[in-house]
């Protein structure tokens, strides 16, 4: 067992260096690039949460946009209807709460079924939310969506500052803090006995049931936790984007979440983070260069799935282990 302790250390050193490095990013990147980076970070949180369900529990949901929307719209609606409560210390817990409730309700329906049925239900339920967000436009802004102004943070107000300055200043560190906390919490969940039980469910649900694991219940827990992470990402994303629309609950957007996770590799913990970053840049690059960006992104996805089934991080990991020998 000794060798395990030793090999653990390099990993944590790398993590530490990585997070310290992140502290200096605002000085290196231009404001525009920093905003892009922040988009990537919010999706990294989304990816971490989503992968708990996909990579670790073995359930594929094409409907997690619903929880992203839940978090995002919580922020936007509080901004519109309860502006006196519009501060991050209230917004973030609220977003977590509402995405928890939604994923609990939807998850309860979905986990009673497996595989294809599960995927269809998760997708359909997110479209139900989409339809509601779209049609109840008096409340939600419909297809125009809602504006998301700058929030306050522990009494600190940002009136008079423009969004880019806000984003490159205080908000970056807040976001980094949220990302770090999410990273640590998810790492903890995944290595815990609960995480191991989820993997057992993923690998062989019949045997898992037979060793006394309550498969349905734990799937629901995984669903709700992933929903909350995704909702958190959604809430944090709103400030970078400045605007929320019903599309966030559309299944095509959910598909992008799946795509990112796969792109990075869902077999590795850090995979979704890498995938989120790459996808953010890929999508923007494609959108900036051609009106047929969906063709580019879709084509890349197909190539990826066929050639790199373990994602980018997975390919690197296999390469690394091959080199080690």
């Amino acid at each position: 067992m000794d060798f395990k302790k030793v090999s653990k250390h390099p990993r944590w050193i790398v993590y530490a260096l990585f997070f310290i490095g992140l502290l200096f990013v605002p000085r290196i990147l231009s404001i525009h690039d920093l905003m892009l980076f922040e988009y990537g970070m919010t999706f990294a949180i989304v990816g971490l949460g989503f992968n708990l369900l996909l990579g670790y529990t073995g359930l594929l949901s094409f409907g997690h946009g619903a929880y992203f929307a839940a978090g995002a719209y919580t922020v936007a609606m509080i901004g519109k209807y309860f502006p006196q409560a519009y501060s991050l210390e209230i917004l973030i817990p609220s977003a977590l709460f509402f995405s928890m409730v939604l994923s609990l309700i939807f998850g309860f329906v979905c986990v009673r079924h497996t595989k294809i049925f599960f995927s269809i239900l998760a997708l359909s339920l997110s479209m139900l939310l989409f339809a509601l967000l779209f049609k109840l436009y008096h409340i939600t802004g419909g297809s125009d969506g809602l504006r998301v102004p700058l929030p306050t943070l522990f009494g600190m107000s940002f009136k008079g500052i423009r969004r880019p300055e806000f984003l490159s200043g205080t908000y970056y560190y807040f976001l980094l803090g949220m990302f770090s906390v999410s990273f640590l919490i998810m790492k903890g969940i995944v290595s815990s006995p609960f995480g191991k039980a989820l993997q057992a469910i993923r690998d062989n649900e019949v045997r898992a049931e037979l060793i006394g694991i309550r498969v349905r219940r734990y799937r629901l827990y995984a669903f709700v936790i992933s929903g909350m992470f995704v909702g958190l990402g959604g809430a944090l994303w709103t400030f970078v984007n400045g605007h929320v629309t019903a599309d966030l609950s559309h299944w095509v957007f959910s598909g992008e979440i799946v795509y990112m996770t796969l792109l990075g590799g869902f077999g590795i913990f850090e995979g979704p983070i890498i995938g989120a970053m790459i996808f953010t840049y890929l999508k923007l690059y494609a959108m900036g260069n051609t009106q047929y960006w969906m063709f580019v992104v879709g084509g890349t996805l197909i190539v990826l799935v066929l050639l790199l089934p373990n994602g980018v991080a997975g390919a690197f990991a296999s390469l690394w282990s091959k080199l080690k020998r």
Partner: protein, 288 residues
């Protein structure tokens, strides 16, 4: 008034029937959930609209109606190309990969539509207008809707005959019931799978073609029907043809009544009904 609601319900059901039947054939025979099915539907709409507009008003009406079959044929070809280039890589893979590949295909198709036909709306209402209106129980009703129901009825009958009476159809059903057994019996799984996909795609395209005289072909055309088709599949049971029929009727009528009574309630009501059915029978009405 109720006659109109019933007829509308039948009309929606007819369209949904084509789409969900196609989805179920692909699902049953190949075990693949085709996320790009809505795009195939849209493709059919655009092809048909294009041809109808090109034909203009100087041709005998007969040709206008025949051109609706272009949706069936054109998308059947697209389905063939798709299967040969893409889908055939999916058989050995797990569900996740299949969904992702069809998702990628969806994105590709949406932009291919954009590349060919640009972003504008295509109006091809000639077939609709030409059939005029009929009088049903004191109400005026567009005859074109009856025409679509008729086509759906014929198609359903033909498919049923095909599936139960022809050798090919029986082989397809054999595969969907037990793939391993079918391979052991020496059935040509690859060829039959291609056939299933082409058939499924063609049906989606036909639905798109049939609907285009009533609403213009637009980008994003296929999204809503796809969701409704998913609900049909869930309620009717995966891979079941009977389920597609019953599910389509159920969803079609719910939609018709929902729209008449309170438009916002349509989707939530559908989900409620689907939810109740699933609680009672988790595999769907005719599912395994």
């Amino acid at each position: 008034m109720w006659i109109i609601y019933i007829l509308n319900g039948l009309y929606f059901a007819a369209l949904l029937f084509f789409i969900s039947l196609g989805l179920n054939i692909i699902l049953g025979v190949m075990g693949i959930l085709n996320l790009a099915h809505g795009s195939l539907y849209a493709f059919g709409a655009f092809i048909a609209a294009w041809i109808i507009i090109a034909l203009g008003t100087h041709v005998p009406p007969f040709f206008l109606y025949i051109s609706l079959l272009s949706g069936l044929v054109g998308v059947g070809i697209v389905g063939f190309l798709m299967e040969k280039s893409l889908i055939r890589f999916m058989y050995k893979r797990t569900l996740e990969y299949q969904l992702l590949l069809t998702f990628g295909a969806l994105m590709l198709l949406e932009d291919v539509i954009k590349m060919i036909w640009g972003g504008q709306a295509y109006y091809a209402s000639a077939p609709f207008v030409l059939l005029g209106k009929v009088n049903i129980g004191g109400n005026v009703y567009p005859a074109y809707f009856l025409f679509v129901m008729f086509i759906a009825f014929i198609a359903g009958l033909l498919i049923w005959l095909f599936m139960s009476k022809t050798k090919l159809g029986i082989m397809l059903r054999a595969i969907s019931l037990d793939r391993e057994m079918a391979t052991a019996l020496g059935l040509n799984i690859t060829g039959l799978s291609t056939l299933a996909f082409v058939l499924g795609a063609g049906l989606a395209g036909l639905a798109g073609a049939l609907v285009v005289p009533t609403t213009p072909a637009l980008l994003g055309f296929g999204h809503e029907p796809l969701i409704l088709a998913f609900i049909v599949v869930v309620v009717g049971g995966l891979g079941s043809l009977k389920g597609a029929l019953v599910g389509s009727l159920l969803v079609g009528f719910t939609r018709s009544i929902g729209i008449a009574v309170f438009p916002e309630i349509e989707l939530p009501l559908l989900f409620l009904i689907a939810g109740i059915i699933l609680v009672a029978k988790p595999e769907g009405l005719f599912g395994r």
